[in-house]
Structure formats: C-alpha cells, structure tokens
Symmetry: C2
C-alpha cells in the first residue's frame, strides 16, 4: 500500500538561511523546483528580535527558549505570520510555485494548548499533538498543487501561540505520514550531522536508532545537533520513514535517493 502513496517533502529552513539574501534566493529556487507535494516551515527569530528591539520589546529567554509575553506574541504574529511568511510566499509565486502561507490558526490547521505554567511561565507558547492537525484542509490544498508555507504559530482560545518551527515540521510529518510517503528535511548551514564538528566533510551518511545510541554513548556529537536529532527520532518513532538533516544548498539532491546529508531512518 505504501508504494502507492504520493511523496511529500516537509522542509524546515533554518534561520541562518532566512537571514542571508543570496542563500535564501538559491534555496527558494530549489524549493520551487521540487515537483512533488511540498511544505515549507520557517522560523524568523532573529528578524523578530531585531524588529522587537526597534519597538522596545525585549527578548527574554529561559534555557534558550523565548518567553512570549503579550507584546512578544503580537511581535511574532506580525513578523512570522506577516513579514517573513508573506515575503516567502510572494517570492515563491514569482518562481512559479503556487505557495500559500498558513499559521496554525488559519483553517484551524494546527490547534495547540497554551503551555501550562510550572516553574517557568513561557507565556503564549503552544504545545501541539499530531491529532490536532487539520489533515483534510492540508490534503485538499496539496491536491490542488498548492505548496504550503507554515509560520511557526499555532492557536488556542482566540490567541495566536508561538511554537518552535522544528516542532511544527515534525508534528506535520507525523500527522501526514499515514497519507503520504513523507521525507522530513531539516535544512541548515551544515552538511549534516558531523562526526567531527571541525570537519564539514565529516557528515555521517546514515543514522538509525542503533547507531544513534552508539553516537550518544560515544559523546562525539556536538551539543547543537542534539535537539534536531531528538526531533528527528520523535518523528521516526511516530511512523515517519525518513528524516534528512542537511545543507540548504543540497535541497534538490536530498529530495532524491542520492542524498548527501545525513539520512535518518528506523
């Protein structure tokens, strides 16, 4: 049965690519070139921080996570849902890709629950479950050859909520893998999961659960890559067949069988 499923690429694009005009242009060209069903998920944290500073909204972080107070909620709604999302959509349109931007609020695409306050009050932050994805809406748009562009925003109870873009990508992959042959791609400014953080040519070709545990035991992985790997295996454990961690420049190759990033499988 799975052989009959259509392919779907869910591509998370990292902040360092968004912030680099030339890298972004090249990346969007490649994304537009993909012929199969495709979804782009973006962040925009640095742009939000910059505009926030101009508006006198201070960025507060606890353990590397942004605290989303009321002013910050409005800021990220503007920047992620408006500025970044619509600029990406307009650029993709000009490249012949019929893109449509969504936040989780639009069409109830991704419903969340506001994170409960324990030791830390993260504010207007949304946590999501895969069964809170509006599959029929997403399928109907993909069926019309529309490519979706998701801002890292969800909603609950009348509020827009801030949600990590990697998580959005991972939850979409998990929700959609029952209906599509999904490859989830985390595209960033490195060639993949590096065996040696100082050697860009040391990308590990394949990681499965067994080798992942070995790598963890070795302690040889860079700290920065660990959350991405956790997110990747969370998706794999929920039925996503393939997760690819690779360089934004290699998007096209990494949508084929001849991947040059790190392919993560069960």
């Amino acid at each position: 049965m799975s052989k009959k499923m259509e392919k779907l690429f869910i591509v998370k694009i990292g902040g360092n690519v968004l912030d680099n005009e030339q890298a972004l242009k090249s990346f969007l060209n490649d994304f537009a070139f993909i012929k199969e069903n495709k979804i782009l998920v973006h962040g925009g944290g640095k742009i939000a921080t910059k505009i926030g500073e101009q508006l006198g909204i201070k960025s507060n972080y606890v353990n590397g996570r942004r605290i989303t107070d009321e002013a910050t909620k409005d800021l990220v709604t503007m920047v992620y849902g408006g500025l970044v999302n619509k600029q990406l959509v307009a650029k993709l349109q000009s490249l012949g890709c019929n893109a449509l931007g969504l936040t989780g609020a639009d069409g109830n695409a991704i419903r969340a629950t506001k994170r409960s306050v324990n030791e830390i009050d993260y504010g207007f932050v949304g946590d999501i479950a895969p069964n809170h994805v509006n599959l029929s809406l997403i399928q109907s748009l993909l069926d019309q050859n529309v490519s979706l562009v998701f801002a890292p925003l969800t909603h609950s109870g009348g509020n827009v909520l801030n949600t990590n873009a990697d998580t959005i990508a991972s939850v979409l992959a998990t929700a959609l893998c029952k209906y599509y042959d999904v490859r989830l791609l985390f595209c960033f400014e490195k060639n993949g999961v590096l065996a040696d953080i100082n050697n860009e040519n040391s990308a590990i070709q394949r990681i499965n659960k067994e080798t992942y545990n070995e790598l963890l035991a070795n302690g040889s992985l860079a700290d920065g890559i660990l959350p991405k790997l956790e997110n990747a295996f969370a998706a794999i454990n929920e039925g996503v067949k393939e997760v690819l961690i690779g360089h934004a420049n290699d998007l096209i190759k990494n949508t084929t069988d001849h991947t040059i990033g790190t392919l993560i499988t069960k």
Copy 2:
C-alpha cells in the same frame, strides 16, 4: 439559474471598528453567526501608522492615499498580513468560525500589477483586475465551509503590494458573482448613506442608478461617502446584484431581506 446559486456575503469591515475592541468583538460574533458562505475583508491603516511611527517609518500620503515605499511595504505586510489578519482569524476560530487568512499572494488568490508611475509614484501599490482572482482556490475553500479573511495585500513579480481594502472587496464580489449570489457589505460606523449627514436616522433605504444620479445632482451627499458609492456602483455595473452600506452593529440584519442600511441595486 441564479436561484440555484449559493449565497455569499463579502463583508468589508472599516478601520473604526477594527480599532474599537468592544465594537470588534461584537462584530466578529455576528460575522461568525452567518451560516452562509462568507468572506471578510479588513484594512488596518491606523494600526500600521502607529507601529510605523514606533519603527521610525513615516506615513506619506498624496490625495489621501498612502505612498508605499520599501519600508512601508514591509510594514503593511507585517501589520495587515500578520498582526491584524491572524488576530482576526484566531478570534473567529474561538467563535466556532473556521476562518482562514489570505493575502493576494497566498495561493495566487489576487494577482495585481504594480501601479505605473505617472505624476505620482505610489510605490508598491497593486492594481487588480477581476480576472486576476483565483476562483478555483476560493471556491474550494468555501466548499469546505472555510470562511476567508482577506488582508488588503496583493502581489506581483515577487513583491507583496498594498491595495485598498474596499477595492479588494469590490473585485472579489465582481469575480465571484458569476458563481454565487453575492451581497457585498460595506460595514462602518454609520447607519448607511445618510440623506442628512447630521442625522444618523436619515439613512436612505435604497439607491439605484437613477436615484444615485439624482442624489449626485442634488449635491446632498457627504464627501466621505462618495468613494464608497463609486465602489458600490462599480461592482453593480460588473454584475453584483446587491451592495449594502451599513452600520457594523447591523451586520446580521443586513444579511437578511429586512435590511436597515442602504441597499444599492441596479
């Protein structure tokens, strides 16, 4: 044939309602209550001006129209496409209305051409033709019982473009009236087209082309209402059956045959 067409209400909401929390809440409740196909079109000029001031972006107007330079383009993309649009969508979702926000760039919903520079360079402003509306996308979403919320933004050549919200509403009505029984509603803070500008109870019940010409000849209409009437008759001349100009508080009544605003017909 026209009796078989489904009803579609296209509702333009004025800036004075958007800026008044209580009025907006009541209006959104009423909009969510409408059971038929519906589209909301919003502006957001005052909010854009306020945030622009905080960001050091000066609002420039010529003949009452905003000049959209590069910085203003980014500003309105953020404010109209992000802040205002997504707040409206999230609030409607919490009222049980499955709203989905769009700019003209999304799904190529409304393609425009950047206004050519004659005496005045309006900047990134988009002019639209009704045949540049993506009907199949809009119909497919309405068919899924999704209510659309349009920001006053179009697109062309990779750019988001600023477009007057009344014009967006009028063009949508014109494009969709071949497929739906469309009533276009301009909702604002007055009871309709007033025969006497100083008397809120003097709303004219009905205006057709003949009485419109008489009113123009009389010179009895307030200047502020003239652009709205021009927009209304532009839609009527292109086949829209009914345009209603009325108070935001009267939205529900004005979606019935017992209208209390000004009903404009051929």
